[in-house]
C-alpha cells in the first residue's frame, strides 16, 4: 500500500505544477495534491506521462460556440517529471512538458515545443494520526518559467502562455483507516507580465500601445475523494480555476493570453501498482470541462508511468 500511495502522490503532485494553456489543457492540471502522503527520505521517483486533450466547442466570453475554421483543437504533451524526498516532511519536484497542438480544420499551423519548467517544494508541517485515520496539512510553493521561445500570441495554437508563475497552495487531507479519503486544496498563482512580438493589442475594451501584457493572477481550487487499498486507488476530482481579471473574447475574435479563462472540471483517476514489478506504477486519468469562460470545453486523458528508486536512507 505504501508504494502505491507514494506513486500516486508523486503523480498528482507533479501534475498540480503543470500550468498548461488556455484552451489547451485547461491550465492547471486537474490532478492536484490529493493526499497528504510524502515521498520518504532518500526516495526518488521519475515519471513520464502522455496527455491527449481536445475540444470542439469553446466559450467566447459566456457564449458557447463551435468554430468550423478550427474544427477540433487538440493539445498533446509528453511530460517528464521527478520528485525527491529530502526527508519525511520536505519533497522537491520538477516537471517539464513537450507540447504540440493541432487544429483539425482551417489553415492555422499547429505549434510544438518545450513548454515551461516547473519546480516546487512541498512541506508537511502537520501529520496527526488517530484511531480512525490520519490528518495531514501541507504547504506548497512552486515556480515555473518557459524554457523555449514559443509565443503565447497565437491562441488557440500556442503551446503555453509565456508567463512565469509563482504558486502557493494549502492542502488539507484526511484518510480513514478503511481507505476512504478526501482532500481539499486551495492555491493562488501569481503570473508575470508577458511581452508580445507586436507593439499594440486590443483587449478588455481597450487599446494598449505597448508589447507588454498584464497577466491577471489565478485562483485554483480542487477537491478529491476516493478509496485506496494496497495496489490500487480510485478517486473522483473536481477542479475550479478562476482568472482574477482579464477580458472576454469578443464575438468572433481570437482568444488572447490575458483573457479571463475560467472553468470547472470533473474527472476520475485510477492508479495501479502491479504485483511483482517492484517500484513500478501507472495511472490513468480522464476529465472533462463542465462549464467555463474563454476556454475550450475540453476532454482530457492522461496515462502516466512512474518508477521509484532509493537514493539513500533506509
Amino acid at each position: 500500500m505504501k508504494n502505491t500511495v507514494k506513486i500516486k502522490t508523486i503523480f498528482s503532485f507533479l501534475f498540480s505544477l503543470l500550468f498548461l494553456t488556455f484552451f489547451s489543457n485547461g491550465s492547471l492540471r486537474a490532478q492536484t495534491f490529493t493526499d497528504g502522503q510524502m515521498m520518504g527520505r532518500g526516495l526518488f521517483c521519475g515519471g513520464l506521462s502522455y496527455t491527449y486533450d481536445s475540444w470542439k466547442n469553446y466559450w467566447e466570453g459566456s457564449l458557447k460556440r463551435e468554430n468550423l475554421n478550427l474544427g477540433t483543437v487538440s493539445n498533446q504533451n509528453i511530460t517528464v517529471m521527478g520528485a525527491l524526498g529530502i526527508n519525511k516532511k520536505i519533497n522537491v519536484m520538477f516537471m517539464l512538458p513537450y507540447v504540440w497542438t493541432k487544429a483539425s480544420a482551417g489553415t492555422l499551423a499547429g505549434m510544438s515545443g518545450i513548454q515551461d519548467l516547473s519546480i516546487g517544494v512541498k512541506y508537511r508541517p502537520i501529520d496527526l494520526k488517530s484511531e480512525i485515520g490520519r490528518f495531514n496539512f501541507m504547504v506548497v510553493g512552486a515556480f515555473s518559467a518557459p524554457l523555449s521561445g514559443y509565443t503565447a500570441d497565437f491562441l488557440p495554437m500556442s503551446i503555453g502562455l509565456e508567463a512565469k508563475t509563482l504558486q502557493g497552495r494549502l492542502i488539507a487531507h484526511y484518510r480513514f483507516k478503511n481507505g476512504i479519503f478526501a482532500t481539499a486544496q486551495g492555491g493562488y498563482v501569481w503570473r508575470s507580465n508577458i511581452l508580445l512580438d507586436r507593439t499594440s493589442y486590443y483587449t478588455d475594451g481597450q487599446q494598449f500601445r505597448t508589447n507588454e501584457v498584464q497577466m491577471p493572477h489565478v485562483a485554483h481550487f480542487t477537491a478529491r475523494a476516493g478509496y485506496m487499498q494496497e495496489r490500487m486507488i480510485l478517486e473522483a476530482f473536481f477542479e475550479q480555476m478562476n482568472t482574477l481579471g482579464g477580458g472576454d473574447i469578443r464575438r468572433n475574435d481570437m482568444p488572447f493570453a490575458s483573457n479571463m479563462m475560467n472553468f470547472s472540471r470533473l474527472g476520475m483517476m485510477a492508479t495501479y501498482r502491479p504485483k511483482g514489478y517492484k517500484g513500478f506504477g501507472f495511472s490513468l486519468s480522464g476529465s472533462t470541462v463542465l462549464s467555463g469562460k474563454n476556454v475550450g470545453q475540453s476532454t482530457s486523458v492522461t496515462a502516466t508511468l512512474l518508477y521509484i528508486i532509493r537514493g539513500w536512507g533506509e
Binding site: L68, N69, A105, G106, T107, L108, A109, G110, Y123, P125, I126, F137, V139, G141, G149, T151, D153, F154, L166, G168, L170, Y188, W190, S192, N193, L196, D197, R198, T199, S200, Y201, Y202, G205, Q206, Q207, F208, R209, T210, E212, V213, Q214, M215, H217, R250, R251, N252, D253, M254
Partner: protein, 513 residues
Amino acid sequence: MKTIKFNISLFIFFLLFSTSCDKSITNKEELTAFLPASIDAQAGKWKTAVLANATEISIPEPASVQSAEYKNELAQLKTSMSQLTDKQKEAINYWSGGVTLRWNQIMRELVAKYNLPPVANEDGTYPIPSAANPLAYPLFPFANPPYASRAYAYVSIAQYDALVAAWNYKFKFNRPAPSKTDNSIQALVPVSDLPSYPSEDAVIAGVTLEVMKLLFPGEIDFLTQKAEECKNYALWAGKNVQSDINAGEALGKAIALKAVARARTDGAGQAVGNPELWKSLETKAIERGEMPWKSLETPARPPMLPNFGKVKAWTLSAEEVVKLRPEPPPATNSEKMKTELAEVKWYAENLNSERLKIVHFWADGVSTYTPPGHWNAIATELIVKAKMSEIRIARTFALLNMGLMDAAVCCWETKMHYFNPRPSQLDPSIKTITGVPNFPAYTSGHSTFSGSAATVLAYIFPNEGANLQKMADEASSSRLYGAIHYRSDCEIGLRCGRIIGDYAVKWGRQAGE
C-alpha cells in the same frame, strides 16, 4: 502549533508579496506638451484636398484686442481658469500632447475595436454590417484594412484642409493668444507666437467629430464627449478665448461637410458588392484559364470589399488606378507558380523564432488597427521626435493616409482583377503562421501599404528613409514567412506601393512644403 503559525504567516507573506508587485503597464506614445520647432506661418497658402482653397469657408472677423468684447472674454477666461476641476486638468494634460496626434490614437483604437469579421448566419451566408443600425450585430463598421485606410484618410485629409484654412485666417487676422495680450494670464501649456483666432484645437475638434461620426456611427456619444474636451481644453488651459474656440469649431464643422459629401459619393458604399459580382469575378478568372480564388473559410465568405478598387482615390484617377495594375501573377498551372508554392511551403515547415517574430510583428490582423494603422503608429513616433507644428502633423498624416488609401484602392483593383488563389488553396497541406485574409493573394496588401507608407514617410523624414524602406521590406516578407503569400505577391506589391507612395509625395510637393 508554532510551525503552523509560521507556515500560515509565510503563505500570507507570499500572497502579499505577489499581489503588491508592480505589474502596471505603460503605454508607448505618451504625448506631452511641447513648443513646435516652427509655427509654419506660410501654411495657410498650402493647397487643400477637399476644399477648393483655404478661403472657401469664411469666418467672421474677430473683435480687436482693445475691444470691450475681447476684454470681457479675457475676464471670463481668468474666472474659468481659477475654477478648474481635476477632470479639466486631466483633459489639459491629455490634449496638450497634440490634438491631431490624440485623434489619430483614438481612431486607431476604434479601428481595432471594430476590426472583427461577422459570424456566419445559420444558413451559411454572412450578414453585412449596416451603417443605419451600427450597434446591432454585426456592428458597423467591420473596420478591415481597406475600410480602415479610408477612415484614416478622410479624417487626416479633412483635418489637414481645416488647418490650412485655419492658418490662413490666423495670419490674416493676427490676433495674439490671450497670454500675450494680458500679462496676468499664465497659460497652463506652452504657447507659441501662433495667432490664436481661430483656435486650431477647436478646428480639429469640429472637423474630426463630424467626419468620424460618419465612419463610426456607433460611437457618437464617445466621440462627442472627446470633441467637447478637445475644444475646451484650449480654453481651460488659457490658450484661447471663447471666440477663438467658437470660430474654430464652426470652421471645422463646415469643412467636415465637404469631406463627408465626398465620402458619400466615393463608391465605398458599393464596395461590398453582391452575389452576382462575386460570381463574375470567379467566372472571369476561369475564362482566362486560371484557377479562381476560393474563400478558405467555412462556410465560404464572400471576398472582402471586392469593389474597393473602384472607390475614388486621392492622387490617382480611375484610369490611372487601372494603368498601375501590375503584370499578371504566374499562372496557377505554371512552373514558376510551382516553384513559388514550394518556397511558401518551405517557410511554413521551417519556421524559426526570428521569422515568427517578424510574422507577428507585422500581422496586424483581426482586432488590430490594421497595417495602415501600424504605419500611423510608426509616423507618430517620428512626428513626436520632430516637434512638428499642428498643421505639419496634419500634413504628415494626410499625405501618409492618402498614399495608404490609394494603395488599398490599387491593390484591391489588382486582387479582384486577377482573383488569384492563396497558397493554402493550391496546396491545402500548407498551414499558416497567421490568419489567411479572406481575399485573393496577388498582390499583397501589406506590401502595397508598406511600400506606399515608407515612401511617403521617407519624403517627410529623409534621415529615416533607409530605415523606413527596410521596415517595408520586412513587412512585405512577413507575409511570405507566414505562408499566406507567394514571393511575387510581396515583391510586386511592394514595388506598386512605392509607385503609389510617389504620387502622394508629388501631391504633397505641389500642395506646398
